[in-house]
């Protein structure tokens, strides 16, 4: 029994030194391709306001923002010199604001292309055309691509847009599927050039392919997960990749119950920890891995029957540090990916920056 207010608070520690090291590792690995650091969803919940300026100071030039509203906000964090990229656009977005904030626009549909070209703005809008190479999400299908790039070339000649890049997005279903996608991408680039476009930046790969398959890097790679130290589920571990998880969920033991066999940690499923992981994961209590028996709405019930635990001891629920599972290790136990474990984490838990 204890007064919770006297204990250290539940917090998400964001290790900036680990982030710096991850950036260095990622950039060294993908050179000479450039890194686009992806910061959608508030830098995967790590806090874009802190990480974006940090990355810019480390020499990162491109920041991937997903949506225009995010890009406009990130402009203030990144400064005028950075190149910002938004690629989930709709015709009724405030494209004029995007042009005013000098955002590079990823365009994967003809109606968006027309809206971008028509949006008020003096300088031509910088556009990256998105081909669908099999993922069947955003992007223009291959049979519609020649007409799409023809129209883009017309709009470029009219001074409304400048096509600076071509991108696509791969499935990572298998190497063979990805090779097929890459062939389609190369064809799309050839067709764009035949239409008179001169894209300088070709980009296809995200974290995993950028690391494992050099031929997928082209001029730039779009990387979120690895910058945050989130390894692929079922793939090589963080250490093999030379990465460290940046975010660790830390909480105190607030109670020890059932004759000392159960430690209570006040963070639970309503804070985003998936209840389906109960019985499958461990947490680190003062450096010792201990099984999580239950994930209640407001607390973890941890089996501490093998070693005595005291109220006030520090628990790493996931992240880095001795005895702690990574977010990816949690994810693997419930057939998902580390990103989902991190992204579900309650935004009301304060992010505390260390390192």
């Amino acid at each position: 029994m204890s007064a919770e207010s006297a204990l250290p608070a539940v917090r998400a520690e964001v290790d900036l030194a680990a982030f710096d090291r991850n950036l260095t590792q990622v950039r060294a690995r993908v050179e000479p391709a450039q890194l686009m650091f992806v910061v959608k969803s508030d830098a995967y919940t790590h806090g874009a306001a802190t990480l974006v300026p940090r990355a810019i100071r480390a020499g990162v030039r491109w920041v991937g923002c997903l949506e225009l509203e995010t890009a406009v906000a990130v402009r203030a964090q990144a400064g005028e010199g950075a190149r910002l990229f938004a690629w989930l656009l709709a015709p009724d977005d405030d494209l004029a604001a995007g042009r005013a904030a000098n955002v590079d626009l990823g365009v994967g549909a003809i109606d968006v292309l027309e809206a971008v070209a028509a949006a008020p703005g003096t300088a031509p809008a910088r556009v990256h055309l998105k081909a669908d190479t099999g993922l069947n999400r955003n992007g223009v299908r291959r049979e519609e691509w020649p007409a799409f790039v023809e129209r883009a070339a017309q709009l470029e000649r009219a001074g409304r847009i400048r096509v600076v890049g071509i991108l696509s997005h791969i499935s990572e279903a298998s190497d063979a599927d990805d090779d097929a996608a890459r062939n389609l991408f190369d064809t799309a680039v050839v067709q764009a050039r035949a239409a008179g476009l001169r894209p300088q930046l070709l980009h296809l790969a995200a974290s995993a392919a950028a690391f494992q398959r050099p031929e997928f890097r082209y001029d730039m790679v779009r990387i979120g997960a690895f910058c945050y130290g989130i390894a692929p589920a079922g793939g090589p571990h963080e250490t093999e990749l030379g990465l460290t998880p940046v975010l660790s969920l830390i909480a105190p033991v607030v109670d020890v119950r059932e004759d000392g066999s159960r430690a209570i940690v006040p963070v639970g499923s309503l804070n985003g920890l998936p209840s389906s992981a109960a019985g499958r994961v461990t947490v680190s209590v003062a450096g010792m891995p201990m099984p999580v028996r239950e994930i209640r709405r407001g607390a973890l019930v941890v089996d501490c029957s093998t070693a005595p635990v005291r109220v006030g001891e520090t628990v790493t629920v996931f992240g880095s540090g001795p005895g702690a599972l990574t977010a990816t290790a949690w994810a693997e136990q419930i057939d998902t990916i580390g990103e989902e474990i991190v992204l579900r984490l309650d935004r009301r838990i304060p992010r505390v920056y260390v390192g």
Partner: protein, 339 residues
């Protein structure tokens, strides 16, 4: 995408009707609004319940202050004394120990509710500790709060609770799951029952009328040919030529990955399958011949009684509880309120 491309609409009159059901049954109501009212918005939901609940329960003193700022005048039970140094007027604090009670007295709380573990709870004093606490607390005891774990039945919990400090008048042990077993005039402490969130299959009480609706927006519509894959890992391949819509709403928004190729959406009134992996920001719906254009709203989660996908289905497909699915609706999703 515009900010309104992902919206959860909260039906405040529906929450009031759910609250009224308990009061109509003769039960004074403590409305549980912890965890930001399950992510639906503490201040707005709290203000909507003015005059419709006897008490409001919140996480801590900071949340209690937010409710007071929102104009709530009902007594408030803070489940911990964290979050602020001083308790606003009329705020009571739940305590499990003498140390908790001292902290509550120090914060200037109006009183304390002693928390007792009635079986398998992760917090609360045992029966003998509760008696000691009641005797030695430096602050007025204003209530007794029983808690119990999922393996303990409401009947078992009630039996334990009934024997503890019977002189304390305001007593509450049952939440949504046990409310139907509460005796005449007995106070209930209800959270998910206010929000229409179903419990586990087999629970007697299934959570009231649905009050939330989660929508995404179509980004683009295009054709897909038989045999083509969709999204990461190509876990879906089209059986026949069709049309697909890319829709805002991904696992960052609480549409969990486990729902990929396992749930459906309502597109122009038609139930259409979500196909392929859910991505962080988007999902894909096979819209077939349903009318669908960029900018159209798609219902991802709503009221099964109106033909919308329901929380029980999401829970079944994801292995998560309905209440954590609601709490997991992400911060990018705009909260809108039907007054």
């Amino acid at each position: 995408m515009t900010a309104r491309s992902r919206v959860v609409t909260v039906d405040l009159p529906g929450i009031r009707r759910n609250a009224q059901r308990y009061r109509d049954g003769g039960h004074p109501l403590i409305a549980r609004l912890d965890h930001d009212a399950c992510g639906l918005g503490l201040e707005r939901v709290g203000a909507a319940l003015r005059g419709h609940a006897d008490w409001l329960a919140v996480d801590d003193l900071r949340s209690a202050g937010a409710l007071r700022s929102a104009g709530v005048t009902e007594p408030i039970l803070a489940l911990s004394s964290a979050g602020a140094d001083a308790a606003p007027a009329g705020v009571h604090i739940a305590v499990s120990s003498i140390a908790d009670a001292r902290a509550a007295a120090h914060a200037g709380a109006a009183g304390v509710h002693i928390v007792v573990d009635c079986g398998g709870a992760w917090r609360g004093a045992g029966a003998s500790e509760a008696a000691l606490l009641a005797e030695h607390t430096p602050i007025a005891v204003s209530g007794l709060m029983g808690v119990y774990g999922p393996e303990t039945s409401p009947e078992q919990a009630a039996a334990v609770f009934g024997g503890i400090e019977p002189w304390i008048q305001l007593r509450h042990v049952h939440g949504t799951r046990g409310a139907s077993q509460a005796g005449p005039g007995e106070t209930v402490r209800v959270g998910r029952g206010l929000f229409g969130i179903p419990g586990d299959p087999g629970d007697a009480e299934q959570g009231g009328e649905s009050v939330l609706r989660l929508t995404g927006t179509i980004v683009l519509v295009k054709r897909i040919l038989a045999g083509e894959g969709v999204s990461y890992g190509y876990i879906h391949r089209a059986e026949r030529d069709s049309r697909i819509a890319l829709v805002t709403g991904g696992y960052a928004d609480g549409v969990c990955r486990a729902l990929g190729s396992a749930a459906w959406a309502l597109v122009a009134g038609q139930a259409r399958p979500i196909v392929g992996r859910i991505a962080m920001d988007v999902l894909v719906v096979d819209v077939g011949s349903a009318p669908a254009s960029p900018g159209d709203e798609v219902v991802l989660l709503g009221d099964p009684d109106r033909g919308e996908p329901g929380l029980a289905e999401w829970a079944g497909a994801s292995g998560l509880s309905a209440v954590e699915l609601v709490a997991g609706i992400g911060p990018r999703v705009i909260r809108e309120y039907q007054e």
